[in-house]
Symmetry: C2
Subunit: 139 residues, 2 copies
């Protein structure tokens, strides 16, 4: 499988598509998932073109997990979450739908299930507000 | 929350409990989950005492994700998996049950659901055989 540059995360990284960005550095970019499985669902992607976990250099992966930890701290704070789930799906059989490597950050609270299957787009204004909360929590 | 050294992964790291180890290095150890959600379910833990994602130094986390990527490649090969899910649960609200940081490696195949809730211990001989398959795949 060759990396397909037409995927939406590649477009976001090129500036050809918009996203509610909460963090970026030389190696990684984090933004709100537009089809959140739970409020505050955030994604962290490498700038490097990598399809999945098996397609990225270990050094780039190390940068990515550092960014994920950093952003997850902000997401947890912004959404007063009791816990956080990190998920990385490699391959369609694992549930991957966008073929640019990404870590999911899912705030979790006691008694609130997340939607594993039912995914629907969230309101853009709501996502913008959520992104602002995460950015504020990170500063 | 202070790290509790009585957790079972701390016991495994100290040699006070056994595990079906598939990989180890100076920073990380990987072994079969004894209550697998799917065949081949493997865990990767840091040697450092860290309760969750928010309790580990970024450098140690970087080592851990490198080991996770390495072991995931072996797990995918050993179980002929179409895909792999990586999960990290921080906090009881996220489903964490052992309070030593760990990454789950879950081989995924088309049409096979994994058990998100129903967890039951697997046969030790079966786990030993699975561990041998992963070790063989890594060499």
């Amino acid at each position: 499988m060759a990396y397909d540059t037409r995927n939406v995360f590649a477009k976001i990284l090129r500036g050809d598509a918009t996203a509610h960005v909460v963090y970026e550095d030389d190696h990684s970019v984090a933004f709100m998932d537009i089809m959140p499985q739970v409020e505050g669902h955030t994604l962290v992607v490498p700038r490097a073109a990598a399809e999945d976990l098996f397609d990225i250099q270990p050094d780039s992966l190390a940068h990515l997990i550092r960014a994920t930890q950093y952003v997850a701290r902000g997401v947890k704070k912004a959404f007063d979450a009791h816990g956080v789930m990190i998920a990385q799906l490699s391959g369609a059989a694992a549930g991957q739908t966008v073929f640019h490597l990404h870590f999911h950050i899912l705030p979790r609270n006691h008694g609130i299930e997340f939607k594993l299957h039912a995914r629907e787009p969230a309101d853009a204004a709501l996502l913008a507000a959520h992104a602002a909360r995460v950015r504020a929590a990170l500063t």
